[in-house]
């Protein structure tokens, strides 16, 4: 039959809306760090090493944004002296790093995750609470749904 799909394919098509959330790691205080523990839902999709590398790179970038170095102090003191009006003209160091992070995530999605059917979302869209991996769907035509329906009936009647 034209609409024959294996049960496996159908199940994969059905698993289109799963999201995996990686929570924050507060063991070093209030700094923005994410847990590097590999979630079991991603076992079939990517290697543990790849995942850890991505999360570690994100953690390093956030650490850089929040770093208490001479640059941030100079920026802070300058802002204080100008009654914080300098923030209206200048982009802060944090914002610059956030842009870098967005670019990195885009790059990772294009190179590594999209071919495997995953989508990594930028944590800033979630208020820096979680990093989420979305499972990407295969969108099919209406007629395909009837075929899936038919197949389900068949599967049940067996």
């Amino acid at each position: 039959m034209a609409e024959t799909h294996s049960l496996q394919d159908m199940r994969q098509q059905a698993a289109i809306t799963a999201k995996v959330f990686i929570q924050r790691d507060y063991s070093s205080g209030t700094m923005c760090q994410f847990q590097t523990k590999f979630p079991s839902e991603l076992e079939n999709r990517i290697d543990k090493q790849q995942f850890e590398e991505t999360v570690r790179a994100l953690n390093n970038m956030y650490a850089e944004a929040e770093k208490l170095g001479s640059q941030s102090y100079i920026e802070g003191c300058l802002a204080c002296l100008t009654a914080y009006t300098v923030f209206l003209c200048m982009e802060t160091h944090y914002e610059k790093v956030l842009k870098k992070i967005a670019k990195y995530i885009q790059e990772q999605n294009d190179k590594i995750y999209a071919p495997r059917g995953l989508l990594l979302t930028d944590p800033i869209e979630r208020g820096l609470r979680v990093v989420s991996y979305n499972f990407v769907s295969i969108q099919t035509e209406q007629i395909e749904h009837f075929s899936v329906l038919f197949f389900l009936i068949r599967a049940h009647s067996r």
Partner: protein, 465 residues
């Protein structure tokens, strides 16, 4: 054969049936709205989302008025005299201080204090699922605390029932603004906003510069009166001769100086020890409390480092996207849709669940908002439990403690927040009530739907019967 395109599934994007197509058409007729217009907290926005203020901006106009009136009187009456007798720098210094105070005040009031956006339904469901998958099939409310280790110190993270997430450390829920604020210090009615991570440095510079300004004006007015009295007149005569307005600025300065100086001193202590007003009042890190010796895990054990971190550290960005646009096909909870969906669903309930297509099920998830109707008979038993949860949850919602600045009726606001808790809790609880329900019916969380559809062909829907 098939037109496959890799696309991230969005619950909103699933609506392709005629019913939802109609809704989409209606929605497109409206202009795109910005996110601040649908912000769930009790805040007011100005300049199209650029400025944020608490809805209870109480006595901010009074604060501004007091400062402007005092400085106005000073410039009008004291300055001409003092410029003649002393130096021209007096109004210059006064002017600089006044500008500093005004800018700091405006920045404190109109800056986002570090509000955490509420968890999306997916995240909330994920957290609930993580807690729930400890084996028990009956619904349990999310435990209210989670303990973690920060710098070898045990810290309890509380679950916020309003924002549906575990609060990060040092975050507290302000009952006046109905938001979780990072590094919550206190809600200041004089400033009309919460003081948190992002605007603490503005608040601190406001009170320090205000201390300098009030001390300066007080000093100048005293000097003025002294000089007048030295010109051969007695002190009382000097005051009588000057316009009646002179003493006004003196009186305002005299009373405000003690409170402002006291507050500045207190906050200097907090900055130096990397504490917040909230933590100080609760005595979270006080070693005198009980037998446990708890130290502040956030301090750098050096006054200079603590000051630099709090006041000159990197400026974190605003986490609530105020000026972003809402996605055009935002689902509006439609009670009518669930009514339409209901009869066919009930008819099929006893029959094969597999007769529903994938998209049908997911559509119901998106459009139905009234879940009690769709529940299996097992629900009524668990609902009282849910209501118990919500009534228990309400009194523990954080009152926002604050000292020197405000007197809050936290219990009142917690009590008024109770009905919303019960409604939202009920809705969230229903999808994970019993396994039969989970396998047989659609749930609000799409991750649950994954499990449903994935397992359906194998089990043959036995739990239904």
């Amino acid at each position: 054969m098939k037109n496959c395109e890799y696309q991230q599934i969005d619950p909103q994007a699933l609506s392709v049936t005629p019913l939802s197509a109609q809704n989409l058409g209606e929605k497109k007729a409206q202009s795109p709205r910005r996110k601040w217009e649908v912000f769930p907290g009790k805040n007011r926005f100005f300049c199209d989302g650029r400025l944020i203020l608490s809805r209870q901006s109480g006595i901010l106009p009074l604060t501004m008025g007091l400062i402007v009136v005092t400085c106005g009187l000073f410039f009008a009456f004291d300055c001409p005299f003092l410029v003649k007798h002393l130096t021209i720098f007096i109004p210059v210094i006064g002017g600089v201080l006044f500008v500093f105070v005004a800018i700091s005040l405006l920045r404190t009031s109109f800056t986002d204090p570090g509000i955490l956006p509420r968890a999306t339904p997916d995240e909330a469901a994920d957290i609930e699922r993580q807690i729930d998958t400890s084996g028990s099939s009956t619904y349990r409310p999310p435990p209210r605390t989670k303990e973690i280790l920060i710098n070898q110190q045990v810290v309890k993270l509380k679950y916020c029932f309003t924002c549906k997430m575990f609060r990060p450390p040092r975050t507290s829920h302000c009952s006046l603004c109905d938001n979780c604020v990072e590094r919550f210090d206190h809600h200041c009615p004089w400033v009309g906003n919460c003081v948190g991570k992002r605007n603490y440095r503005f608040f601190y510079s406001f009170i320090i510069s205000l201390s300098f300004l009030t001390s300066f004006i007080f000093g100048c007015v005293i000097t003025h009166i002294t000089l007048l009295s030295q010109e051969g007149k007695s002190l009382v005569q000097a005051i009588e001769e000057s316009p009646a307005r002179y003493p006004l600025s003196l009186v305002i300065c005299f009373f405000s100086i003690w409170s402002i100086l006291g507050l500045s001193g207190f906050h200097t202590y907090l900055v130096a020890s990397n504490l917040t007003t909230n933590e100080d009042i609760k005595g979270s890190w006080s070693s005198k409390r009980g037998a446990e010796e708890s130290e502040n895990p956030y301090t750098y054990n050096s006054i200079i480092t603590n000051c630099c971190v709090t006041l000159c550290g990197p400026m974190p960005p605003s986490l609530i996207d105020r000026r972003g646009f809402l996605p055009p096909d935002e689902p509006i909870p439609a009670a009518s849709a669930s009514d339409i969906e209901l009869p066919p669903f009930r008819a099929k309930n006893d029959a094969n669940m597999c007769t529903q297509s994938t998209k049908d099920v997911l559509e119901r998830v998106v459009h139905s908002s009234d879940f009690p109707v769709l529940c299996s008979p097992g629900t009524p038993k668990t609902t009282p439990q849910v209501l118990n949860v919500s009534s228990r949850a309400a009194p523990t919602s954080e009152p926002s403690p604050s000292v020197g600045c405000t007197q809050q009726q936290a219990r009142q606001s917690a009590a008024t927040a109770c009905p919303p808790f019960s409604r939202s809790n009920k809705r969230d609880s229903l999808h994970s009530i019993n396994p039969a329900f989970r396998l047989a019916s659609p749930s609000p969380t799409l991750s649950h739907t994954t499990l449903i559809l994935g397992d359906a062909p194998d089990t043959g829907f036995n739990p239904l019967h």
